[in-house]
């Protein structure tokens, strides 16, 4: 019995590239919610002037969140419909999924909080703000470690 490497299909390869790009945009616009881009000259870089506008970064972050939610739902359904017969998720994939779930769930509460007439308690508001940032930092750290050790999301079905 030997674990095989799972080769991504062409569609999966493009979706993976889209996911990475989306995550970079989400991370950038997410960090841009803190007032640091102007302070640290990032918005002075030619072409990045928009990053100092909090409404612009917020708008892009929301747009990215909608795309990310669509992509995640696609993957979940696709995995249970056909994917699990073709590949297995690695242990590091489960770590990523847990952290991603943390980002998404706290993000959903953050969006709900921003709706008119939705008011959370001060403690809960603070918790979701810090937890959203914390999960993202952990995800980026984990992704870096997994990249160094070349640990993928999937592996082939054992022969």
């Amino acid at each position: 019995m030997k674990a095989r490497t799972y080769e991504l299909t062409l569609t999966q390869k493009w979706l993976k590239r889209f996911y990475i790009l989306l995550f970079v945009v989400m991370a950038f616009t997410g960090f841009g919610q803190m007032p640091i881009f102007k302070r640290y000259y990032i918005s002075d870089i030619p072409g990045l002037g928009w990053s100092a506008d909090f409404y612009t970064t917020h708008y892009i972050h929301y747009l990215g969140a909608a795309l990310l939610l669509g992509l995640i739902m696609y993957w979940i359904i696709d995995y249970f419909a056909s994917g699990r017969s073709e590949f297995k998720l690695t242990a590091t994939a489960y770590v990523r999924i847990i952290l991603l779930a943390g980002i998404v769930i706290t993000g959903i509460f953050r969006v709900l909080k921003n709706l008119p007439d939705v008011v959370f308690s001060p403690g809960f508001t603070l918790f979701i703000d810090i937890a959203h940032l914390g999960f993202m930092m952990l995800y980026l750290f984990a992704a870096l470690i997994f990249l160094i050790f070349k640990s993928k999301w999937t592996k082939g079905i054992e022969a």
Binding site: P35, F54, H58, L69, D78, T125, L126
Partner: protein
């Protein structure tokens, strides 16, 4: 102008003090007593304001325990473009918003039917119904309370001034040298604490009126459930053939002004600048975000549809009778 000042000086020593004594410990209206959680709004009838600044003084007095007490010298901040915002030696400034002055009287001289008229307008945080300062605060330091107050928690705020930038009226004001940032990375992150009107949330919790309302000798302001306040504002506006500001601005606020003069005229006449907000029309700052929230509901449905579609197409391509899972 000069008549206004002399009138103000007179009133400061007379009417205001008398009003303060008479109104001391005045409770909230019975309809809003206790923490019922309903959204409260204030009605400001600018016809009644005489510019005596009794509200400004009462605000400073009542909120003095909340004011910043910074320690000097302030830590050096990097990079050099980060500037110190220090109002601690200018605590007596009353003609604009500062960390030590959360309410000021704005003056507008306008010509109506060929006659010059001067209006004085109490200005402070509008307490928006969907406040961008609270929505976009990255730490949850600025937040909206169920009773319609938007307040900044000075124990959590890092003084990044994002709230000031996203506020359409740029209300919150920063004081360097106080707050949580001093305990984290004072040189590299944060720059103090942001301050603004909290509509005396602690007095309202006890069933008391905000100080500015309680002390006003002319009863310029009134507080009550928002729907009642809006109804009353419309009734006054209809009666005087007047105008309303704050009901729809920025998607709706909990500070409703009524004026006999159009607000665009007043907006041109008031002195605007840092700490001096205008009376301009304001679109709902969070409308785009609210619309995109709908996209966040639709996107997962689209994702599910795409995955089901893919599975259906693949199963149609398979020869009849072939098992899916081999």
């Amino acid at each position: 102008m000069s008549t206004n000042i002399s009138r103000r000086t007179f009133l400061k020593g007379g009417l205001a003090a008398a009003g303060a004594v008479a109104a001391s410990s005045m409770p909230l209206p019975a309809s809003v007593k206790g923490d019922t959680g309903q959204e409260l709004a204030t009605l400001i009838d600018i016809r009644k304001c005489i510019g005596c600044e009794a509200c400004v003084e009462a605000c400073q007095e009542v909120n003095a325990p909340k004011f910043p007490e910074p320690k000097k010298p302030y830590p050096k901040m990097y990079p050099s473009r980060v500037k110190v915002s220090d109002w601690s030696d200018k605590r007596d400034v009353m003609d604009r918003l500062t960390p030590y002055n959360w309410l000021f009287i704005q003056e507008a001289t306008v010509t109506v039917d060929g006659e010059e008229q001067t209006y004085t307008i109490p200005r402070r945080c509008m307490h928006c119904q969907n406040p961008p300062c609270a929505d976009l605060c990255p730490w949850g330091a600025a937040r909206k309370l169920k009773n319609g107050i938007t307040r900044i928690d000075s124990d959590i705020c890092l003084g990044g001034a994002k709230c000031e930038k996203v506020c359409p009226w740029h209300i919150p004001q920063r004081q360097t040298g106080v707050g949580l940032y001093l305990d984290i990375l004072p040189a590299f992150a944060g720059n103090g604490v942001m301050y603004k009107c909290d509509r005396c949330y602690n007095r309202i919790e006890k069933g008391e009126l905000p100080a500015c309302i309680e002390v006003c000798p002319e009863k310029v302001q009134k507080i009550g459930p928002r729907d009642e306040i809006v109804k009353e504002a419309h009734a006054i506006a209809k009666q005087i053939n007047g105008y309303i500001y704050g009901e729809k601005e920025n998607g709706g606020t909990n500070t409703i002004y009524v004026s006999p003069v159009p607000f665009d005229k007043l907006n041109v006449a008031v002195g605007k600048g840092p700490g001096k907000p205008g009376l301009q029309p304001v679109k709902d700052s969070m409308a785009h975000a609210d619309n995109l929230t709908k996209a966040m509901v639709i996107a997962p449905v689209a994702g599910v549809a795409a995955a089901v579609g893919k599975f259906y197409a693949a199963s149609k391509k398979r020869p009849h009778g072939e098992e899916v899972n081999k």
